[in-house]
Homo-oligomer: 282 residues x 4
């Protein structure tokens, strides 16, 4: 395992590149400087690429728009695979009717709405409608009052034996250079421990995330896992998940994993990427 | 293991009785009806008794006063041993100076104050004083803004390698007949998982709780563990802790453990009380 | 949720049936009595069916043969999807060369062999060949000496930063009416906790198991998840995994889950099957 | 937090010194070279000292003898406090009669025998005597057949709702410079996870271990926690436990914690010793 700084030569060996978003393409300040060059190169070389992200705060259209607003136009909505899409898929398949209570912003909820289902902020669940609630979805750490609404979640799940879906498994995310923020996945873990039931989680490192992306591609053309590489900044999600699914993996040092302790972390976790690069910038 | 309804005959066999508070002496409505009779009997028989409680929300004086206000005068402050007292003891021994940041109400903080230490709500920790913070204490689930203050705790513990003390390990508590509330122990578990550090916990089933009570008695007279019985409503805290410390134990069915599933829970957890009684009422 | 005894009417609603093996088709005594009728009916109705099993002890050919020896000829090797197949797939994709050390019988190891890879019982790893070992696979609880070989695994993983693959995640399995046996998944959990590294697990409830089966079918014809039902006896693996993947699910009461506590377990875990049947016998 | 090499000046500040055994006084090769000088100094200065060890393999007499055989005569049996002593204490208080089944050597079992109790290796538990078994004790990783006897433990605990006592909570111990061995605490964790019951654990970092030592001293003379310092090589047991009990603590770098990563581990765990020294040698 050596730190190879040539992300370009790695890209040249594969047909399809999967990117994590936060810590790889963008960070709390905006785009990773120079990342536009990477996508220009991929386009020029006719490489296929996808963003595979533990993000359920917005729809792929809105996520794509946020890249466009930052000046990165290469990432269109059909290039984005989010854990929120898997949550929506689950609801479509398994929750035919009723109210889906949620924790998150209206943006996050709007996206999971579908025929027959009515989304409702957990704050609006009450004695009159609680028996119609057929699922609880954890979407985003914003858009609700933590004290009253987290307590409401606990009591909803004690009273109704309904599926609880965690659409973003991350426990925290960087807010700026010095601070992190508790993510919805961390809040969901607490509630799961308190109520003692098994929640349904979508998001890396879970295989279903990679499978969803893989399937989208296969619907258009035959592919081989050996021709796909997963690029991420986090060992426990991007690299662990990519490895398990059978992809080659690139750890980049532009986010959660710092150059100074990359090797220590790889040795202590046993999660070994195929390559290590300073960043995904070409 | 049989449900013996005669709490009195059990009491007769021991010199000292330890009681859990919530679910045994009081509940969300007030005192457990008839519990005054138990303490009258104990006084008449010259039995010694103590309340051993996972409660760090108030001082023993304030806790005793709350019983007096409900009409139970037998419980004086010197009869109360709380997990908050152990947290205070820890601070006295191990944190000689600086600021102790806390989550909880002013009542809970007032109690842990001591010479040389200055308590400060986590909300008031800022860039100017963060380097003087020498401990973080989780006291109560009320008295702070969950969103901003829980996030502040995470970032404080990432920046300063200071002890984090959990003065009440309960994860939830009953609010009324139908609802529970997330307790400070549940919030502390979430933050411990996110920051990845080891917190210091006080409260049943931890032995230190029983040891504190046991020591108080031994300072006055010799005793034998065989002459003490622990009475509680929760297998995982009262009974587990009492058994491990070497006490006989009584599970009462007036709180967390319902008659209908007491045996199922005892079998599934392997936590076996010496006796089971409907309640601690004589 | 009601116990519907009519497994046949359920089968009629789907095109493809996935079966767990142990506790559904067979048990420690042999075949579940009458299960041949189920497969006769499926054949007569032109239903497609697959066995999806957390079993890495033998190849699909050998597993199929064991059904034939018991008189059930409907289950051919191409109907069997085992967690062992996923482990083999992983090795093919991610471990191009070297020695694969294993815990299990020669039968289990024979199956995962492939070009370029050499399987070796952990007992034969020594100072001369340890540097060539490129993976460790947990296949079966038999075929090795627990004391010396489990200790060797711990030390191999401390010395070499290689992937550890758990090809059967079950922690225990029934041996007879009264006794269970510790399974390789239970042993692997212990070693993972001791060495502190992240192991790669294949087997229900993990989605990759269901995806593997789903993919095999899709290679031949288009399908829809709504036309597949998963039949199993264990909430935490069969039902949890099937639900998450978007399948309808049937809990049968012929194995791990007894009729007497099915509802208690469903309520306490929050894992809710679409249907409950006494057994899969038609 | 600085590495102060002067263990002597630390010792001078306290009346009573508690030492961990393995990694502090002895290692796999024998005594830590020069440690005799430490005890000579303690004797000369009239300091009181105790060995506080997670060891249930032998009685304090046999443990003391093993030091004498290595040439260290200062450690007499009454200076040794072992987790095995707490297990014996528990049995004396809580298990008045019947058979105590055990995992370990005859040496370990001999020690826990007491009036009314009959110890029996788990291998000799059978259908005839299983109903008389009143406790299961995990003493040592040697002296039994792992395959058959660990499976017997699982089935014993499924059939009989009896206390399971773990007399040594360590998960692994060093065998030589390169290898470790799975300890009885690691095996007990596996079995606890499989049977799903709560085991009773004795050993650092649990407070009961420190209290036992503290009590022995207090029976002879008044002491203050501020005059006691705990010396150990392991953050998670010696330092965590000592800190929580209110003692000052010394981390020595002669065992589990290496100089090269001491600070990394202290920062990542949040377990901060009062002092760090190269070793306990004076």
């Amino acid at each position: 395992m050596q730190i190879s700084c040539d992300f370009k030569s790695i890209v040249d060996r594969y047909d399809i590149i999967f990117f994590d978003a936060f810590g790889v393409i963008k960070n709390y300040k905006g785009l990773v400087p120079g990342i536009e060059g990477t996508f220009a190169y991929l386009e020029a070389q006719n490489k296929e690429y996808y963003i595979v992200t533990n993000d359920a705060s917005r729809s792929p259209f809105q996520l794509a728009e946020s890249y466009h607003n930052k000046g990165l136009h290469a990432i269109t909505h059909d290039r984005i695979i989010s854990s929120g899409m898997l949550a929506k898929d689950y609801l479509d398949l398994k929750v035919p009717q009723g109210i889906v209570a949620y924790l998150g912003t209206p943006d996050s909820a709007h996206y999971i709405e579908s025929q027959g289902l009515h989304t409702l902020p957990i704050s609006q669940v009450n004695d009159d409608n609680i028996n119609e609630v057929s699922a609880l979805v954890f979407l985003d750490d914003e858009g609700f009052d933590w004290f009253s609404d987290l307590n409401k979640c606990v009591n909803l799940l004690r009273k109704r034996n309904i599926p609880a879906i965690v659409a973003n498994t991350d426990r925290a995310y960087p807010l700026n250079l010095h601070d992190v923020s508790i993510a919805i996945g961390g809040l969901a873990n607490m509630i799961e421990n308190i109520v003692g039931k098994k929640f349904i989680r979508f998001g890396k490192p879970d295989s279903q995330m990679f499978m969803f992306a893989y399937d989208l591609i296969r619907e258009r053309r035959p592919i081989d896992k050996k021709n796909i590489v997963m690029v991420g900044d986090t060992l426990q999600t991007d690299i662990m998940g990519g490895n398990k699914f059978g992809f080659d993996t690139v750890l980049v040092l532009s986010g959660n994993t710092q150059k100074v302790d990359a090797k220590t972390r790889i040795n202590s976790t046993g999660i070994v990427p195929t390559y290590i690069c300073e960043s995904a910038v070409i």
